[in-house]
Amino acid sequence: MDFTYTETQDMIRDTLARFLADTYDFESRQKFINNGQGRDAAIWTALAQELGMLGAPFAEEHGGLGGGALENAIVMEELGKVIAIEPYLPTVVIAGGALKAVGGAQADAVIPEIIAGNAIVAFAYAEPQGRYDLANLKTSARKDGAAYVLNGHKSVVYAAPWATHLLVTARSGGGQRDRDGVSLFLIDAKLPGIVRRDYPTVDGNRASEIYFENVAIPGDALLGSEGGALPLIEQIVDEATVAVCAEATGVMQKLHEGTLEYTQQRKQFGVPIAKFQVLQHRMVDMFMEVEQARSMTIMATLKLGLPANERMAAVSAAKNKVSRGARFVGQNAIQTHGGIGITQELAIGHYFKRATMIEGQFGTADYHMDRYERITLAD
């Protein structure tokens, strides 16, 4: 048993942390968010071309660093520490994960473009009626000769305003909630018939509602098998869920550190408020949540390669624990800061907003508790 990181993994973390320390302080982040585009494209280019960071989980033959889920977790945790708005999750973790899983010509074509920073992919999976059920799809992909015609509405697609590609789940057969009949496509984001409504999100990101109106897509956009993609989608969403847990660990760590720092500066009744035992215990409880979030993230990362049921149980256990921890740490960071925590002025409130959105991303604590129970406590 060994929980130490390799030299390469340490190097990835250190390199990225140094870069973000130089480029991504809180004021810079707020500037990126408010600059009209909602990000600074030069950051993404630098992550790709100066740091090689977008190649972290890809094979060397594609130009990557030869890593995998652990490397993704390292990157996501560091991005979480600065509440970065970079589309690493949908592009590298999710689309990259899908391409690695299917391999072949599609992987050979797109992975190098992701690594180079040229391709940004948004993951269009959620629908207004579907909540967290990946199979609950009204979006349809109708076969038309060798091609497909896409129709439907995808909800809250993070990073879509910046995307060159969309990774889309759609129904090519079966009923609305059937496990069979689900297909996965990687398509050009600018195809005729794709209509977007872009907007900012409460956690500082950009997202879109996407409407497909008779969008003709080529047959080779299909990833995996037609109608049989749900297991693949479940796998990449589990990988994404663990990556979000890693991001949460970074966010929670900063919420906790910020609270420790503030309570030692802020004086009331003649002493730093950190001297009050009720707040000390609160901060100890926050600390324990951060540590457990880190433990669960590592646990689930290491189990991503297990058979589906074991993988899903591990991921749901992690996401349940992390969602609850993110809420506890976020709420108590604000409470301990008092009024100043509720303003836009301090970074702490922005970490809280991201922590809150992470709670529900790819399923709330309840959703994952339910999935965990169904797998582990079935008769």
């Binding site: 207004p128 967290y132 909800s155 907007y199 409460v202 004086k267 009024g339 925590g341 529900g360 339910d370």
Partner: protein, 397 residues
Amino acid sequence: MDMEFSPEDLAFQQEVRQFIADNYPAELRGKQDEGEELSKEDFLSWHKILYKKGWIAPAWPVEYGGTGWTPTQRFIWSEETARADCIRLMPFGLAMVGPVIYTFGTPEQKAHFLPRILSGEDWWCQGYSEPGSGSDLASLRTTAVRDGDHYIVNGQKTWTTLAQHADWGFFLVRTDKDAKQQEGISFLLIDMKSPGITVRPIITLGGEHEVNEVWLEDVRVPVANRVYEENKGWTCAKFLLAHERTGIAGVAASKRGIEKVKAIARTELDGDRPLLANPFFKRKVAELEVDLTALEFTELRSLAGANAGKGPGPESSLLKIKGSEIQQRLTELTLEAVGHYGAPYFRGFGEGDNEHPIGPDYAHRAAPTYFNMRKTTIYGGSNEIQRNIIAKMVLGL
């Protein structure tokens, strides 16, 4: 002991219901349903209707403009206004400085200020907290120095709710630097249009401009605008804080909030069933209802005590703690219920912006409200301070 309404009470309930149905402004209702931020005029529209009817201050003594209702009638009133989702009346005049003035004020202060509070002519704000004085309010450093018939006031206040609308503010200021903390404080009524006052917005996490910083620089305040004795302002402050805490339980509003959450969860789908049929979600709604019932009957017992002549005491801290926690849990459930549509940031309808916002109407303010309502366990004396009060004053520790 009983909890039945008498025939007179039931008739009163009918009267109230009918009055609200006939008079609540439709435009206000529309804005509430769309989740829009309300303007000063919006807040005042309902206020003025109630003033005209003579129902604006049920809690006040009749001689100052109260309704003379029994406690049960007041309970019915607050139930019915919440049930009909009427907006909350601004508490700064009606529930805060008004009672201070009729309890501690001079005849001149009563005659001048009370009618203007009732009519809505004056909008009030509260100048208590300072950047260095939050939970430790008595450490406040804004000074008032006597200069003939005036005080010269200097300092900075913060978290001043809706001061951008205010005509008047009630301020705690230090009039004796050498006295023990609580003993050197006075309670001043300050015209917000006085030279030397600057109001600066503080934008909160949901994007709202709800609170402000108020800077006071050589502001001249007539001594006649001091309530109660010099250096005895803490007495007014404590009286007001206890009053603030009772209203803060928010039972009727939380009941309405639970109904809203249920309505959302009946609309939102969870697979082939409504979200409200999801056992996890249903359990959380039910637990919230049980806790709200416990709060309600604790408040009713406290009110009954108040009827028996006891003023609101330290047990009101219990109402504040449990009431604020319930309000926050409601926002948690709402945010969970709206799923993915909690994420889009709705910035309100701009000029000429007719495009429909993203997602269902009930989702627009779910996240901003969740963020914003974190304030309830902080303001009015944080819940940590309230627990200290209970430990000391109730448990005698």
